[in-house]
């Protein structure tokens, strides 16, 4: 961490502090030395992460951390490139990049803090806001449907797909370590309270109330049917967590090398 940049700007009770700590601990535990780790962030509260970690880091324009990370990884494949960003950045304005990076299966790690709204600009609804949730731009509830992120990214072809909350720090740290290990696109969704932007409009009195909800409703089910893990605003519904996808699939570089080898064989 860059100690002189602290304290961070995040609100009391925000999940980003925990998420960042888990990322940092996973980096320290990984076999890759810190000077080979790169942190790329986008726009939103999570964007500040790139400025807090004391590794090479880059703060991109809105929605573009994955294209930046892609370019970097192609040129310097030995680097452990991790995108640390939020749902507004990765799934809405940058949504196209997310599904294409997963399809390409380039060896990137994407840590997506999902707080169900655009927190930094004051809590507007976005592509992850659950049906009926209240935000500043849906004062009577959101009538659009939200993305189910594990399903979306798994269907797009990712090698590793996981979901934890910012309360599940041990499991989350382990999942990030696993994301570093796998050769291919790794996606970790981190459900994260936004007490000021999202929580207070949705009857979570404070951050603790949202975290208590996470704890009480969380069910770990690694083999869950991903069609059923969408987040709802019904308080009785479970929040399904786990390392849903962890399977070998040729990564971008492997696929490229294999094809070129088979095509060029015998041409010498």
């Amino acid at each position: 961490m860059r100690a002189h940049r602290l304290p961070h700007i995040w609100c009391p009770g925000c999940g980003l502090g925990n998420a960042l700590r888990c990322y940092v601990e996973a980096m320290e535990a990984s076999d890759t030395p810190l000077d080979k780790h790169v942190c790329v962030s986008g726009i939103g509260c999570s964007g500040r992460a790139a400025g807090y970690v004391n590794v090479d880091s880059y703060h991109t324009t809105h929605g573009r951390p994955i294209p930046f990370a892609t370019g970097l990884k192609l040129v310097r494949p030995e680097l452990e490139v991790t995108v640390f960003s939020g749902d507004g950045d990765l799934v809405t304005i940058g949504g196209n990049h997310l599904i294409h990076a997963a399809r390409r299966n380039l060896d990137l790690n994407v840590l997506c803090a999902n707080n169900f709204n655009y927190g930094m600009t004051g809590g507007q609804f976005g592509a992850t806001t659950p049906y009926a949730a209240r935000t500043t731009t849906t004062p009577y509830g959101n009538f659009e449907q939200a993305f189910n992120l594990p399903l979306l990214v798994a269907a797009s072809g990712a090698t590793f797909v996981s979901r934890w909350t910012s309360l599940h720090v041990r499991q989350l740290t382990k999942a990030i370590e696993r994301a570093f290990e796998v050769d291919g696109f790794a996606f970790v969704e981190i459900l994260s309270p936004c007490p000021v932007g999202f929580g207070r409009k949705n009857e979570f009195a404070d951050a603790l109330a949202e975290m208590t909800h996470f704890r009480e409703k969380a069910i770990v089910r690694h083999d869950a049917d991903l069609r059923e893990v969408g987040i709802t605003m019904r308080r009785e519904d479970p929040i399904i967590l786990g390392n849903f996808v962890d399977e070998e699939r040729p990564s971008y570089f492997v696929g490229k090398d294999d094809l070129l080898k088979s095509v060029l064989e015998g041409r010498e």
Partner: protein, 385 residues
């Protein structure tokens, strides 16, 4: 009310029918307030939070083609992301109205006032108006629809306000009576609309034999705004008792030796500077550019025939020799014989305070200088550490 609330009230009173936007600081409170108006049933409009500014502009264009009055708002990086579709909005002649809160462009990241974002859109053929205070913001949103929707014009309009100085600062604003606004601003009836009963093909391929004529018509429409804008302002005064001065407003320019040309909130500070200089015997004046597109070429030429020294303040850096306003002013004054000396100053970038002292220094430097030229007014010298 704040400048952002004034924008929202302008769109509400104009009875915008489709609003599509994407959050960005410091714009967001405009569309928040509009969504609130809609949720309470005070404004009958469709509201869309799309997945990016690019999509917001596309939604406004298609809604406008379908015959709806549209509004959106953005800032800085969001405006830059819209750039491709800004050309489409003007090229398709859809009179979309957009509020822009002027904010610096990265890198480095900065959320404070700077005009580079809108100056970078000067070639998109949008009508561009800069505002000095929150009343002007509200009034200009209403005027924007009247100007843009004129059958001879049919062009989109940006109404600009300086980040935080206007967007988040409250001041007394009179809300025009809705009945008067309805009388001033008729409902939107474009000549060509998307209509299943009378199908039309939009955006067909135009080859080298036709393309230039499309651009000529676009230029012709922008030229027409130069006479229509002052007329609309006069009609506005007859309805509401306030006017803002056409393309350019002169303040104490009579017999002046030096006149400052500026846009936005800096013009408020400049009025104080001009008063002070006049009190101390310096014949100073202010020409407030209310519109950058169309550029008030004729007003500038008249002014240039009357003064020997012109100071131009650019709160943006656009990579040209001299700022965006400076280059246009110089081009205009060169069209008259014996053109005056023009000194261009970069100042107040990225929200740096444009104090009365800085503005006064720029004007005094202009009087002393021997020829035209460009100066960074308030930059800190780099020193070896």
């Amino acid at each position: 009310m704040t400048g952002n609330v004034a924008q929202a009230w302008g769109a509400k009173l104009a009875r915008a029918q489709v609003i599509a936007a994407y959050p960005i600081t410091p714009q967001t409170t405009i569309v928040e307030r509009l969504s609130d108006f809609i949720a309470k049933g005070e404004l009958q409009a469709k509201y869309l939070t799309v997945e990016s500014e690019h999509s917001a502009m596309q939604a406004c264009i298609s809604a406008s083609l379908a015959g709806a009055r549209t509004y959106t708002a953005t800032s800085s990086q969001g405006l830059l992301l819209m750039h491709e579709l800004l050309h489409w909005a003007s090229g398709q002649r859809t009179p979309v109205v957009m509020g822009v809160v002027n904010r610096a462009v990265g890198p480095p990241w900065n959320i404070w006032v700077d005009h580079t974002d809108t100056m970078a859109q000067r070639d998109t053929n949008w009508i561009q108006a800069y505002c000095e205070n929150n009343q002007e913001v509200l009034d200009m949103v209403i005027q924007a629809y009247k100007i843009g929707e004129d059958a001879e014009i049919s062009l989109p309009v940006m109404i600009m306000e300086d980040a935080f100085y206007l967007s988040h600062t409250a001041e007394p604003v009179e809300i025009p009576h809705p009945t008067l606004v309805d009388a001033f601003l008729p409902t939107f009836h474009p000549r060509h609309v998307l209509d299943v009963d009378e199908p039309l093909g939009f955006n067909v391929l135009a080859g080298p034999d036709l393309y230039e004529e499309f651009r000529f018509q676009l230029a012709h429409a922008m030229e027409a705004t130069a006479t229509r804008i002052p007329e609309v302002d006069e009609e506005f005064e007859r309805s509401f008792g306030r006017s803002w001065g056409g393309l350019m407003e002169r303040y104490r320019c009579e017999d002046a030796d030096v006149v400052l040309i500026a846009v936005g909130t800096a013009t408020s500070t400049a009025r104080v500077v001009v008063d002070g200089l006049r009190d101390s015997g310096v014949k100073a004046g202010l020409a407030k550019l209310r519109f950058f597109r169309p550029f008030p070429r004729e007003d500038i030429k008249h002014l240039a025939g009357e003064v020997d020294s012109i100071t131009v303040l650019d709160r943006s850096y656009t990579g040209t020799y001299g700022g965006a306003i400076y280059t246009e002013v110089v081009a205009s004054v060169k069209e008259i014989p014996h053109s005056p000396k023009v000194r261009g100053f970069y100042a107040g970038l990225g929200g740096r305070d444009l104090s009365p002292e800085v503005i006064k220094d720029c004007m005094m430097e202009t009087l002393k200088a021997e020829e035209s030229g460009v100066v960074w007014a308030d930059v800190r010298e780099f020193q070896e550490v």
